[in-house]
Symmetry: C2
Subunit: 166 residues, 2 copies
DNA sequence: TACAACCTTGCCGTTTACGTAAACGTTATG
DNA sequence: CATAACGTTTACGTAAACGGCAAGGTTGTA
């Protein structure tokens, strides 16, 4: 009996090592994330194999980026993405809603959550930019001293040899 | 006998808990960073108390920012800041150099290292910005669906309920 | 000089984020 | 239908980044 389960839209579902390769994680990490409630595979095979759809893959990619690029802890990521139970509820809520008002509400919720995510990412970006600005300040300071030296001028009061990076 | 050791420029040296409060770290963390070779206090008191100067404080602030704001591991921070032995060497090299060419070389080295730091921070910023852009893409996608719904139009093919954040 | 308030070096404990192996079930293929 | 190649759960192991003692020495002040 084949495992070739298909999603409603016809896309293939991936087994854990397939998604792992796809998104650049290990199967162990993915299972761990599930244990933490960060994501649940869209389905399980007859024999209990985890099966992931495109949406899961996207979520895993996002998790990885939040971890590697943004440097968030898994706990923070959990808060950012909300818990998996709510995700499943909202997913079903949208999929099965016959009432347009219901579907609208689900989308509106998703919008608010994304706005929160963007705000948090923007704040982090701001702090990073501040650090860069500071580092460039130190750079200018040193370059200035260097210029003074090259111009034969004596440094007035070299209070330090140049700040953090010596 | 007082501990009031003074730096060449007359500034007071701080004891570990004083710097800890100053930069927002714990004494334990600071000792751990020393153990990892991230920084060594400028001096020790007669009775072996750690004594930090303004330069150390600045370095600790930078370490903290790299950890909290940029999300680097202590190992990465170590690579970014180079090892403490080199720091001490270069510090002494600059302080004691009578020859301007020597001093120039020390400053030039510092400049190169800061440039590296800035480049690494910039790269991180780039990845963060990419994430933000992606999140905003998702946001637009959802907003569009929402607009369609509100306009009474039927969604053409709601392949998902909205991406990562549901 | 007595003493509280700090500091020192061990050293063991804890949380996070997985790695790794055991023992066993599942799936695709010849 | 045999079997290799994958998957499952369970559980113990580990590196990173500290927290928190204990046992003792140091410092500023009364």
């Amino acid at each position: 009996m084949s495992i070739e389960v298909e999603t409603p839209t016809g896309a293939r579902l991936l087994k854990i090592n397939e998604v792992a390769t796809e998104v650049g994680l290990t199967a162990r990490s993915i299972r761990y994330y599930e244990e933490l409630g960060l994501l649940k595979p869209a389905a399980r095979s007859e024999g209990a194999y985890r099966l992931y759809d495109a949406d899961d893959v996207e979520r895993l990619r996002f998790i990885r980026a939040l971890r590697d690029d943004a440097g968030f802890s898994l706990a923070e990521i959990g808060r950012l993405l909300e818990d998996e139970a709510a995700r499943a509820r909202n997913r079903e809520r949208f999929r099965t809603a016959t009432d347009p008002a219901e579907r609208r509400a689900a989308l509106a919720d998703a919008l608010v959550r994304i706005d929160d995510q963007v705000a948090i990412l923007r704040e982090k970006e701001g702090r990073l930019r501040a650090m860069i600005a500071e580092a460039e300040g130190r750079r200018r300071h040193i370059a200035e001293h260097l210029a003074d030296l090259d111009a034969g001028r004596e440094p007035r009061h070299v209070h330090e040899s140049g700040g953090v990076a010596r």
